[in-house]
Symmetry: C2
Subunit: 148 residues, 2 copies
């Protein structure tokens, strides 16, 4: 039995690492169905000057090449944007665990409609982390989600 809150710890730790680096505090991790870590990562827009590296894509990249993702679990501190939701749908990731969707709601309902098992934890630490970040660095946040 997967403990979603326990898996979220890894994603939250990644988000905190990103924050300490001066980056956008969103973290993610990919696990297999037994809860074994396959890859972890965080948003690297600021650190690498790379707009293509969201938390989920970084975790996915760090898991390396695989033939199938049906039995994998993507855990992310924040509701996945359309870019990251598209990643989940295209590669057939079977399960998504979301830390919170209060500060931003991406495509997690769309994923659920397309057969992905989605859990939203409404984790208070994740809400507070993003609320503070958006208040302090709105220009970075809006750049990261493509809002002019």
């Amino acid at each position: 039995m997967i403990n979603a809150e326990r898996l979220l710890e890894t994603a939250y730790d990644e988000a905190q690492r990103g924050l300490a680096e001066g980056g956008i505090p969103i973290g993610a991790a990919l696990f297999d169905s037994a809860g074994k870590l396959l890859g972890r990562g965080h948003n690297r827009r600021v650190q690498d000057g790379d707009p293509s590296v969201h938390a989920e894509t970084d975790a996915f990249r760090n898991a390396g090449r695989r033939r199938g993702y049906r039995d994998t679990i993507m855990v992310t501190t924040l509701s996945p944007c359309w870019y990251c939701s598209g990643l989940v749908r295209q590669f057939g990731i079977g399960t998504v665990i979301v830390g919170e969707s209060r500060t931003f709601t991406g495509g997690h309902d769309w994923l659920a409609e397309h057969g992905v098992s989605v859990t939203v934890l409404d984790d208070q630490r994740c809400v507070e982390m993003m609320t503070r970040f958006i208040a302090e660095r709105p220009e970075l946040w809006y750049e990261d989600i493509g809002v002019d």
Copy 2:
């Protein structure tokens, strides 16, 4: 006036570079509304061992950080998969030009439904390039689109 076939040349050239490197022959390029090149790239799954780098994400990455994408044009040799369609939608890329969608159809109709200007060229060279690649390296192709 944008000449879609001319812009496609850059994406096709990227796809051919990828093929010459032993990779998956899909190329893309991001232009501004005047047709100035912002970034170009190709699928790098094989070359970098990185499943997160599709042609569109590579071109997007190589264009660097930007505040807005509404007036940009993403040109790709192949219909964008859900991952790359999600990229286009999240960042508000205004225009997508697709080389062909015969060998694979991703999310370009979904993008058109959400206000993106989409042109599918049905370019014969692009069709032949992917048809040959899929016949010769089916395992690589299906890995790249997450089909077990």
